[in-house]
């Protein structure tokens, strides 16, 4: 028994190695070792039961899933099953396809390296191969229809005993060696293999089965539902707000402080520093920050205070210039606008911080506003600002940086408050409407969570499964 066990372990490892290696042909190396190590003769095991094959769900095609019931001799009975080998029926025509494919791949490689040596134009040669390959692939389904003539079963892969499911998945690149074509009639067989490779029992053959890509991922229905519900909610509340319904927004301390801070800067005759963070123009925090910048710039223009906006991302710089420019225009002071209010520093995190810190100590801004996405630099900025004695207002959705802003700044917008700030500042009905929609969604979450907790406490995982999203 000990022998058998150790041989099984050795073989398992070898099988893994074989599996990882190229193994279009059943490798005999593993079996040889085992037989020489142990010459116990084994009886053929029972075959796997109820073999099923179907196109893999929710994918882009090029995959077939196989499922079976374990052989009674796997984990019970004689316990003689070592692994299962999955076979697929290949028409001999496939070899022709492979030959052309291999030729094409080498020809292309050589063409790139400039070592392709053929008569005539090398490009025409490759083109001709490409069209031949395409043509052969298009006749592949017909070749599969010939089953069981002109073909044979070939090993796809060996899987260790105890496996009940296998996905035969190939890349979608048609030039890959193990490309798995769509819309071909495949036939599969699974062998239960014992320690002696020659002692094996094949299963029933399943087929035909075709693989193909799906147009809708059913595993993501939950997400779709949410998208639809949330989208409708937003539109509904925006409409309501447009038609004049009063919508309340609770005061947000950090935002109210902005107005005072601008006044203070004006009194002291010192500039205001606005930092947009390290986000790109596509980051939601940066988008929210643009709206706040627009408001700050407008007021700065009215009070004729100086504004400094160093940026980290060139696209953010372009957008911010646009924002500040139109804010000055709105304030009726387009002449005060200069392109150097918003400038680019560098796209390197700490070089940017070094430069902004320099500005803080040299220009001595009365107020520093940090809104957007921040990383490790948050504390460097905020502490330097505190040393320079500026009033500091910050806001970020980066969880990890919130503690530093809270500790080092006078006011901090926590997470979602940053997004809400844009609605709060603008008081535009459409923005307020979407804020209301967010709140309704949050209430729904609280409700769901409440039900979920109760159901889960009662010992059921129904609710949890409802929220599962497949990949």
């Amino acid at each position: 028994m000990k022998y058998l066990l150790s041989a099984v372990i050795v073989l398992g490892l070898l099988a893994g190695a074989v599996w990882a290696q190229e193994s279009d042909q059943p490798s005999t190396a593993a079996a040889d070792t085992a037989v020489s190590a142990d010459t116990v003769s084994v009886a053929p095991p029972a075959p796997v039961g109820n073999l099923r094959a179907y196109d893999s769900d929710n994918d882009h095609g090029h995959a077939v899933t196989l499922e079976w019931e374990l052989s009674p001799d796997d984990g019970g009975g004689d316990n003689s099953v070592l692994m299962y080998e999955v076979f697929r029926w290949y028409p001999y025509f496939w070899d022709t396809v492979q030959e052309v494919r291999a030729e094409l791949v080498t020809a292309r490689q050589r063409r790139v390296q400039g070592t392709l040596d053929v008569e005539g134009d090398p490009d025409d040669y490759v083109k001709e191969l490409v069209s031949r390959h395409t043509e052969l692939l298009s006749t592949l389904p017909e070749a599969h229809e010939q089953y069981p003539d002109d073909g044979e079963f070939r090993l796809v892969r060996a899987v260790p005993a105890g496996t009940e499911k296998f996905e035969d998945r190939g890349p979608k690149d048609r030039l890959a060696e193990d490309f798995l074509p769509d819309y071909c009639d495949f036939y599969y067989r699974v062998d239960a293999v014992t320690i002696d490779e020659s002692v094996r029992t094949p299963s029933q053959i399943v087929g035909p089965v075709q693989s193909y890509g799906q147009w809708f991922n059913t595993g993501r229905i939950v997400v779709l539902c949410f998208v639809l519900v949330f989208g409708l909610l937003t539109i509904l509340f925006v409409q309501r707000a447009r038609s004049g319904a009063e919508l309340y927004v609770r005061p947000i301390a950090g935002i109210e402080a902005v107005d005072d801070a601008i006044g203070r800067a004006t009194e002291m005759g010192r500039p205001i520093l606005y930092v947009l963070g390290l986000g790109t123009a596509a980051d939601v925090a940066t988008i929210a920050s643009f709206t706040i910048l627009s408001r700050v710039a407008k007021q700065v223009a009215e009070y004729q205070t100086q504004l400094i906006v160093p940026t980290y991302d060139p696209i953010v710089m372009s957008v911010a210039q646009e924002v500040v420019k139109s804010a000055y225009l709105d304030a009726g002071r387009p002449d005060d606008y200069s392109q150097d209010i918003v400038y680019f520093v560098t796209q390197s995190q700490f070089a940017y911080v070094a430069a902004v810190n320099g500005v803080m100590l040299r220009e001595r801004p009365a107020t520093n506003v940090y809104m957007g996405m921040f990383h490790a630099e948050s504390l460097l900025l905020a502490e330097t600002g505190a040393i320079a004695g500026s009033i500091q207002i910050s806001g970020t959705d980066q969880m990890a940086q919130l503690p530093f802003f809270i500790v080092a700044c006078d006011y901090t917008l926590i997470g979602e408050e940053l997004y809400a700030a844009s609605a709060y500042l603008g008081r535009e009905p459409v923005l307020l409407g979407s804020l209301k929609a967010q709140d309704v969604a949050k209430a729904a979450v609280v409700l769901f969570a409440l039900i979920g907790v109760i159901v889960t406490t009662a010992g059921s995982s129904v609710f949890q499964n409802l929220f599962k999203v497949t990949d």
Binding site: I287, I315, Y343, Q347, I414, Y419
Partner: protein, 273 residues
């Protein structure tokens, strides 16, 4: 055209990306990968805009003789050197750079400095003198660029960046400054803690106590360290988890809402309204 087309583009691509998520088909994946590729190609063009802005601001500062204008020379020279390293390589064996290459670099630096100096100069006599000096160096620089065969433009090889100076500047200039800037945080975190952790009110006290407890967990000599370690672990795993979840959900929802507003054209802040 000025306003409607961009909004239409945002809507179109936004909606496509949402639908793509639900369509696993090969064709939808193909377009998706394609679009992602485009974004980063455009991003590089934007970087040129940024470099231009940096250059302009530095030049302006020198020209207007603002405070600290001297340091703008440093920035411009750093920029020039690194770009030069990035686009040149030795032609000889082993990639070693020749002396003439360094002379060429130096000529470039001198040229750059003289041009800037000349622009800042107000007295017309000295301005002319500086311009003449620039011209002399520039001619040398250009001649060397054309006739020096010991180096060439572009350096792309299979091993990556082949100009050793590029690597050296990264290792001995960028790296130490970058790492030290980051290390300043150690000091700042101490001063921030000292300055701000005062039990002024309930919220500040909670902040202070939680921080103290977690900081103590690194001290294996403290009595009751076992309890402190467990308690701070509990703090990180339980209340922390709750707060994080509340924030993450709020932020997630806010982001979704903002993305939706952007796609629907409700939020237009990013376009300068």
């Amino acid at each position: 055209m000025k306003r409607q087309l961009p909004l239409a583009l945002v809507f179109l691509f936004g909606v496509f990306m949402i639908f793509q998520y639900f369509v696993p088909h090969e064709k939808s994946e193909y377009v998706y990968e394609f679009l992602l590729d485009w974004i980063y190609i455009i991003g590089i063009f934007a970087l040129a805009l940024g470099i231009w802005s940096l250059f302009r601001v530095s030049v302006e500062r020198i020209k207007l003789r603002k405070e600290g204008a001297t340091y703008s020379y440093v920035a411009l020279i750093g920029l020039y050197l690194m770009i030069a390293f990035g686009f040149t390589a030795a032609t000889g064996d082993g990639g070693a750079l020749s002396t003439s290459y360094y002379i060429w670099l130096l000529l470039g630096v001198v040229c750059l400095a003289l041009v800037m100096r000349a622009r800042a100069e107000t007295a017309s006599g000295r301005k002319k003198l500086l311009a003449l000096g620039t011209l002399v160096f520039l001619v040398g620089f250009v001649l060397m660029s054309i006739f020096d065969d010991s180096w060439a433009y572009h350096f792309y090889t299979a091993e990556g960046l082949s100009n050793p100076m590029f690597r050296i500047f990264f290792d001995y200039v960028m790296m130490p400054i970058l790492a030290t800037m980051f290390a300043l945080l150690a000091f700042f975190i101490a001063s921030a803690a000292y300055r701000a952790f005062r039990a002024r009110n309930l919220l500040a006290t909670l902040l202070l106590l939680a921080a103290l407890l977690v900081m103590c967990r690194f001290n294996p000599y403290l009595p009751g360290i076992d309890f402190i370690a467990k308690a701070s672990n509990w703090l990180m795993n339980v209340p922390n988890l709750a707060a994080q979840r509340a924030i993450v959900m709020g932020v997630g929802l806010g982001m979704v809402a903002t993305a939706l507003k952007v796609i629907l054209g409700i939020e237009r802040g990013y376009m300068g309204k």
